[in-house]
Subunit: 316 residues, 6 copies
């Protein structure tokens, strides 16, 4: 991964002068009674919160999610988090030759390469029932899967983030299966590929992801269990393979309070949960520490139990 | 309900001399090294734990789950719970003219009357989509539903217990809807009828109920969500009705640690959870207090937070 | 209940132009260093938070709890909750012919009708000891009871809210006793009438309710237990009836962390807790969903575990 | 305290040959189907669990709580706890000249000396209202207080244990008030004297203490709050003193899950809770370590969070 | 302790016109987009939060931690806490003849007197190994110990606060050892002296205390265990004394969630934890109630479980 | 790993006729009053609980921990766990030519090969300070490390289990570092090698491991932190490397309630915790499922949250 230079790399005190995408907008009332906008701005490297004070009705009309703007401002510290103070702002115009898609944070691999890599793993599956179900569902959702984020925030919350998370987990699964040969790679790889697939239904598209109504009322776990049920019915597959795959989906969050009403009761389900955990945590850790100088602590990372991380002075 | 006179009504010190059904058997090794049997015996009124000491290989062969035996013994106290000490025991023979089915604890209403009552509620549903899904699923599982217990133990754990629980809840739902007119009776009644229906897949039959493999690995909540999904697909129904019914199933246990990964987010889902709770608790309370004399405490009731209940001396 | 049209029915974007009562006032310092007032305003239908920015010393003198004001403003969204932005404000004058009492949110039934209904339930009590204690205490506190709110906030937090809550619970108790005939209606009805009665001591009057010192240091549960003790002494009543009523008061919150140091250990105590719960929750749910359009989510409701509720698109 | 030599001082492997009191008896069924008795035996120094195997109906008739027996046996280890294995046993006869009272574990001070010491503290109270209430209640319950245990088990669970606990706490209160002069000794001493006084109602007498019905349904905290209420009414005392004393009773267990629905909100209430804690814990610790040799661990102490304690090898 | 008159004694509504020390500064962005400073100001009696609005770059340059300023302002209420609103502010100049040290909140005893008192306790230690280790470590850290605070905030968070806390605990330990003669005073006194000693490494100096890197990554408990290890190695001491002292350090927070991975398993370790708790709580309580009028409640005290405390009207 | 055939592979119903090592013995009293022995017996493949009933004083003298016996018996089910019922037993004699060491369960790799592999990893460390500390401590404890178990029970609780656990974790660490290149392999490998090293002090030797006194009072985490402190002092090394290694030791259990008073705050510390977790869990899972037939559930595994695991019918 070559060193990037975008919003994710900016430190407190740096200035910003570039095009960015408005990912979300919230209107607020300042404590002087004037309206302001809380914007989430992004470029390819990441996102940042920004405030635009004392906005006019025209401003509120102009600055909406999905538009590209040219921003002048500087990075400030707000309760230990970076925040962009906007000094000036304008909507991009056609002569700027910029498109929203160019400013979406996205995975460091091309979607088509990742699709190819997952497909390769599916080819390797030996158990015919598992392979047919996995292939069927991967094809069914492939298009949305290619660009879906893995989350609204926290980890892999960028375009193709879901696919990138799956690819990393598959690689991890391959190494772990070499070290622990009792693991059933058919079940493990299929579980990895399918575990979060229903996020394509739980979340709206990659540009400005939000929870859908079925996402809120049911969540991706029950949605995916019904997807597997439908696939099995359609392919006329029955047996423990269907049950085991549904169990892996049901239990991959590990605990009731994290959304899995049953704990893992199959070896590969236990491993799936751990692999998911490792990949998500390493992704967040790397982001948190990327711009921290040696001998310093990072910003607090909420989903990592709100910890702040230290980079020892002998690391770079 | 006329006063019953069976095993459920026996107190410590009473003697027992009657036919009973063996619901389950476990072999143990006494601390003198000799094998013994832990039996769960039942008649129509209820169940009791019993011990048969120093058994021969023939005894182990004879006394198996599902058989009817003639028992002589007396009720003793074991750590605050009633236990039957067996003095003598024999297998029933054909001339006894007894059948296992006669000794199964079962609901105080006839299954056919209850089926009729539920059917009546289904007729009353106004929303066509909800009615069609409910009717379809009730028909599909009606036969098993007629005899299924609501649980392996705790509450309504007898033949037709599930149906009896549903009928009580429907009546309760009708009264509550009269008092709180904002309740949508279509959604509430349908939710009551469907909420535990997949217990017919989670548990094996009424004679000696146990968890099935899919019951252990998935549980009745995910199983029922896929049942609704299939029904809707088959009946070509789409829309919020399907989603709302699935949400009611998903959330009817109320909390993640009780098996519902999402909390109720629809008015009728919140009410379904409370109705389920009231009916289960009243059922357990009534059983616990049935034979307690005024001015005394009951045995501890494990699923009621292991409490012991007091019957004031002015109650009978 | 006819459709109301007051502050409770206003949606984000609506304008307000009407008389309202100031229920409470807090002074704050805006982040520009200027004082502002956080007002809680009410009319008969409900309450709303409002902000008055950049206030003068005269404003602070004028706008005090208990006064009626004429307000011009509009409803805005503040972190998912409605908030009234005041554009102009003036104190009511005598020619306006408005009284504070007219702008207090209050129960949808007249206090005298509710007193009558409770009295009717007391007449029906069969157990003489329970009846005498209940009648004695109801008479003793009847005047305050007629107007007391059930809480400072959350549910039934309006004039006569306590009495309305009791009446609803009595009706619910009647229906449940019909469905579960083992319930002792004497104990249940008396427990319902007395359970929160000491809130007339825990909270100050209905206009601007606050916790009293004895409310903070002891709370309504121990206060009511001593009230029953005193009544029994005065009426020279002894026996399990006194103990059972005190136990019902002590345990009606259900759990230590909710304020009941003992769990319910009498059948009617368990039922009292569940009835209290149902009525409080239905009250809050109805308020939360009242103005939500079909297919939308409500504001978050803090005492309902901070959930947001969905109104399916087939409901109105 | 001179070194004692009784059952409390016996170690695993020691033999026992002495008169002891039967504090409680439970009948059990051994896993060979024969009845046995679980006895709790005591002498002045303490108690021990004992088993009598294969008992006859005559044995069950003879060996009842409250009788004195002559025991031959030896101390064995049972899951890390001492247990007395009885080799032979006989009821005491009149010629033995032993009385149950002589074998009750009891406080190391004479009750009359402790009554005298508490009375002295009451004389020192300056606040007339607090003094009158305290004196009134102490006189009312003095007789039962003189012999009551502080608990059924755990700490100070012997005759006059409650009084001894109070005396120790008063001494501790005196020293702490010298070190922290802001403490109000009137409130603190009175709170110490009254805090557990209603245990004379919660528990039956000292010989074989058990929970009473009002002890189980209400507990000593609500009972004592009503006692203070009655005393104040009778003495025509009103004001913050009554409220503060009731608050100290209500909160002295410190947390909801330990039985106090409100936390301490008065300085002396906070201190009362800590003094209670220290004295109870030191009492249990001293008992647990009394017979442990240097360099060894004690038995596990259940109410001290089931910990086992180490006596360093340089201690004796 | 003579009545003080400084910032700690100021009530809401009072004005302030005096020199104060800036203990810490944080820059913020007001919701009108302008920078402001959150200052923590102190004099000998205590600290207060203050806000300086709409600051210039020069202000930000001038007002830094460690400088003395002359402040004009008044005390306001902010969410139940006192806050100083600054009306004007200037840096002190040499002609003011004020030094930062004069405005540090500090213990009510002179450090040299406290050092003397601790030394006296060390002289009294009878166990030579314990005495040598204690003396060695006390000498090693004496200089920093003389001025160190016991915490960044909460209790004893002022200059010499750590030493004052130790002295109070030693006195308390002396009285408790008189009442509970089984306590080993050598172990207890040494444990008290050493228990928080490594706070001199965990926190930076008294003027503006902050956590050091080793304080954050290891904390004072592991740091002190290694200090004892080193001292024992250097003094060539081995045996249970070293182990017991390390155990006391390890366990003095009492529970895993409070920072002690093991619970106290030695009598004196259990007592150390309780003494630490009493002294810290009394210190916070006294501060919270100092300026509260009789019949009123204090501000909420966060480390005392966020409780507000009541001063009964008969106390002064 | 070739298929083994020993006690670990025996199923309920199998007979046993072989030499085994007595790992531990506890004397108990059966409920018929007769003494019995609870033995833990082992061979190379694993352990099993066994009961010897009605033992004579000679038996108690003969059958002690550390001796080899010839056993005749059969495997029974006791509450879902395998138990060996002994039919006959004799001590081994010299002519049997068996040694205790041959019957110790032990790691599937030779200790010398594992020492060699760890040494290789130490050679690869680039950071000189980390390498010197690691090498120093590995040499210091190498002898005990070669045979130490990783625990008294649960996972890797056999001879050389600690070393085997470290080797597996190092291999896992190598693969993860390849997938997540930001990981500092120096810190990670050193943390893996050192993390549990002080278990050689926490537990007694491999034959019959028990907790030592310092193991109970301090535990391996604080012991290892002082070991690193001593090593650094001896090697005159200072700096963040020492602190980072101590932090990794302190935090490797992840949470306070699992024994780490601080959470991981360095990237490699977080990873160390996850690697430790994976290897321990896979080790327990493999053991639990080894003898389970396809389509069946395993025994419950207490340290895996008491779960029972299912082997799908398509796995072998």
């Amino acid at each position: 991964m070559t060193k990037q230079n975008g919003i994710q790399q900016k430190l407190v005190g740096d200035t910003v002068e570039s095009f960015m995408l408005i990912k979300s907008v919230k209107k607020g009332i300042a404590s002087n009674g004037k309206p302001f906008l809380s914007l989430q701005l992004s470029d390819r490297t990441g996102e940042i919160d920004a405030k635009l004070w004392a906005v006019s009705p025209e401003d509120q009309e102009s600055y909406q999610a999905g538009r590209v703007v040219f921003v002048n401002g500087d990075i400030q510290d707000f309760r230990g988090m970076r925040q962009l103070r906007i000094r000036s702002l304008r909507l991009s115009v056609s002569s700027d030759q910029v498109k929203p898609h160019d400013f979406m944070p996205s995975a460091p691999m091309a979607p088509e390469d990742m699709i190819e890599e997952v497909t390769q793993f599916i080819f390797e599956l030996q158990n015919a029932r598992i392979q047919r179900i996995t292939r069927h569902l991967f094809k069914k959702h492939q298009k949305a899967f290619a660009t879906a984020p893995a989350a609204v925030k926290n980890h892999h919350e960028y375009a193709s983030g879901l696919l990138y998370h799956v690819v990393s987990m598959l690689r991890l699964g391959r190494e772990l299966s070499a070290l622990y040969p009792t693991l059933d790679t058919d079940l493990l790889y299929s579980g990895i590929i399918l575990h979060d697939m229903a996020k394509v239904r739980e979340l709206s598209g990659p540009l400005t992801p939000e929870y859908t109504v079925e996402g809120k009322l049911l969540g991706h776990i029950p949605l995916m269990i019904t997807e597997i049920d439908e696939a099995a019915k359609e392919l006329q597959i029955e047996g423990d393979e269907v049950l085991a795959l549904q169990h892996m989906i049901l239990t991959h969050h590990g605990k009731p309070e994290w959304g899995s009403p049953k704990p893992p009761m199959i070896r590969e389900a236990e491993m799936l949960h751990m692999i998911d955990n490792i990949d998500a945590r390493m992704n967040m850790l790397d982001r948190a520490l990327e711009t921290v100088p040696p001998g310093q602590f990072s910003e607090r990372v909420f989903p990592l139990e709100n910890r702040s991380f230290y980079k020892p002075d002998f690391q770079s």
